[in-house]
Symmetry: C2
Subunit: 236 residues, 2 copies
């Protein structure tokens, strides 16, 4: 981890530990520089990172302020780290329904930018929060990138393994969301009635070099899941 | 608009006009500098903005590449400009159900960070896409910031008016999403059956100085709406 990331983490922890609220002012740049024994450019980079992550906002000529805390138990739709991180205070478990190497369908091949005779790892899991079904997940990993998976890995955080085990750098993602009704199979896995509402999310995850490595389809249990998104002004 | 924003717009337009695809490489920095007669730092700022907006991704030592085009007709959950912009190719209209000045409820006061005896503008609208109900929207504007609204303004884009009419700078937003079932009133406005699925989104919009000015509650017609989110690697 680089120094500016470390400092960003420490500032974030400070905000949490002191339960700072939206609008609370952070110390000025000079104080932070002295406190972390870091240069102006390093502290500025830390603050920019925290701003991108929605932890603080900066007002020119006025200071650095804390942004609203995310509500507890909400899943970030912007996180690329898998939602295990959002729900770390919760008891999250996985049941692996299927794990196999197969050929991609046209849809999968198009989204992973591979050929129909390439191999993908297919993973189907139900994820539980405090023993309640949170979502049904089907994921397709480009096997030439994610070269190995087994039952033990997919019972835990696949993304942790991809980062730490395979040493890959996870980059950006594109997600497409639809609201609809559960079909019979989905309802069975989620412990709901057929026809209940669902949030269905398709995501393509890319490495930092732009290669798509994971195409995932998640169907959420509407009773167990809630989501948040923080947007910055650069989207204006 | 600043020069780097202008250049960013032109690059984005170039990508659209030439229907460039995910992974297509853009000209190198030096070429862009010459083409736009701009300094390295200006072009770098333009590219950073485009990266934040999910239009391009940069690979160190390798170049600048086009990111996947958003699917047409999808509403960005990261846009702070109101979704009129996402759907500009579509015929979007509004029906104003209610517009009045009132006192906030506790919930509204808390989210707008105002007192119970302050005033808010309450706006209730149904928004239509090609004549089909897209969503039911209830918004609460802090009247000390959004000092004036009338029927004509709220029939159009309120955000355009806030920016251009009132000269305010719209900053960041926090959104909370839930999936559920339509109640009778919502179903009536959206032309669906009671109990149909819904996406319900609460958003607090802030000025760039951090002041919340709009607390909005939107209930989407699941048959008419689909959404996308692009996440960057800094969320890792």
């Amino acid at each position: 981890m680089l120094k500016y990331q470390q400092i960003a983490n420490e500032i974030e922890k400070y905000i949490e530990d002191h339960a700072l609220q939206q609008g609370d002012k952070l110390p000025v740049l000079e104080t932070l520089m002295a406190q972390f024994e870091a240069s102006k450019s390093t502290v500025t980079k830390s603050l920019d990172l925290l701003e991108k992550k929605g932890v603080v906002f900066q007002v020119r000529g006025s200071g650095i302020f804390v942004r609203r805390h995310k509500r507890k138990g909400y899943i970030s739709l912007l996180s690329n780290q898998g939602f295990k991180k959002d729900l770390e205070d919760f008891n999250l478990t996985s049941e692996v329904i299927e794990l196999e190497v197969r050929k991609p369908t046209k849809e999968v091949a198009r989204n992973l930018n591979i050929e129909l005779d390439d191999d993908v790892y297919y993973v189907k899991r139900v994820r539980y929060i405090h023993g309640q079904a949170l979502c049904l997940e089907e994921s397709f990993y480009n096997k030439s990138i994610v070269t190995y998976l087994n039952n033990e890995i997919v019972s835990e955080s696949i993304f942790n393994y991809i980062r730490e085990g395979l040493g890959l750098k996870i980059g950006f993602s594109d997600s497409y969301l639809h609201v609809g009704m559960l079909d019979e199979e989905e309802a069975k896995y989620l412990g709901l009635k057929k026809g209940s509402p669902k949030l269905y999310v398709e995501t393509i995850f890319h490495l930092t070099n732009g290669q798509p490595f994971d195409f995932s389809k998640i169907t959420y249990n509407y009773e167990q899941s809630q989501f948040f998104i923080q947007a910055n002004s650069h989207f204006l």
